[in-house]
Symmetry: C2
Subunit: 122 residues, 2 copies
Amino acid sequence: MAAKISVETCECSVIHEEVVSLVRERMPEEETLYDLAELFKVFGDTTRIRILWALHEAELCVCDIAFLLNMTQSAISHQLRVLKQAKLVKNRRDGKVIYYSLDDEHVKRIFDQGMIHIHEEK
Amino acid sequence: MAAKISVETCECSVIHEEVVSLVRERMPEEETLYDLAELFKVFGDTTRIRILWALHEAELCVCDIAFLLNMTQSAISHQLRVLKQAKLVKNRRDGKVIYYSLDDEHVKRIFDQGMIHIHEEK
DNA sequence: TGTTTATTTGAACATCCGTTCATATGTTTA
DNA sequence: TAAACATATGAACGGATGTTCAAATAAACA
């Protein structure tokens, strides 16, 4: 049994050493990839996707969204908080009512790319 | 106390009735939004994001990826399964080794839109 | 054929995450 | 100022999810 490189690595890593290190050099920074995953995580929930889609159509208050999606105001409020933290929505107050709207013109583009993928499947 | 529409709905829903029903008409089907969320859920994990990015650079075998990301082959294999189910990666066998590569030209475009968003924050 | 190598798979475990419920905050109106 | 309304928030609960560990495939080699 010859020298094992690491705790668990097969011989491929030696054979493919050049390719692997080349890929490593080209990989974005850890933090960037983490942020990217965090962003997509926000899109990875049906409720949030529906909220974003609704807000793409019109500015709406919390109870409008709750009524539209047939969900609790509290649940919607919690999700709007997530969306706001991700800088995907913004809000304005008008008396008692708080209106939410999209805070990013890329939301639709991200949607579109996703749509292209899921509609490709046969 | 006047007639309440539902278990929990404020008066906005009455005032904004037209807007809300207009939005409702324009919303995509439930199933479509569900699929879209499922797709983005796949992108919403650092490990999978890193795998996809690596595969965007080169075709790699499981142990290459494990070595590159300094993770267990088992963990990588589990995630590759998720990516394959989402039709984002494909594989080919060459003897003992199984090579993975991207199965979708949109992956990069979805990445790009996400990158534009996260790099916009100041 | 038995062993080694590369990968897959299932169960178990811990953690994360979305909703609910009760309550708090903030604004308007009587 | 008290009541009503719109929204936010924190704790708690249940379900989903990622990694680990052990064991199973599957191909190549001796």
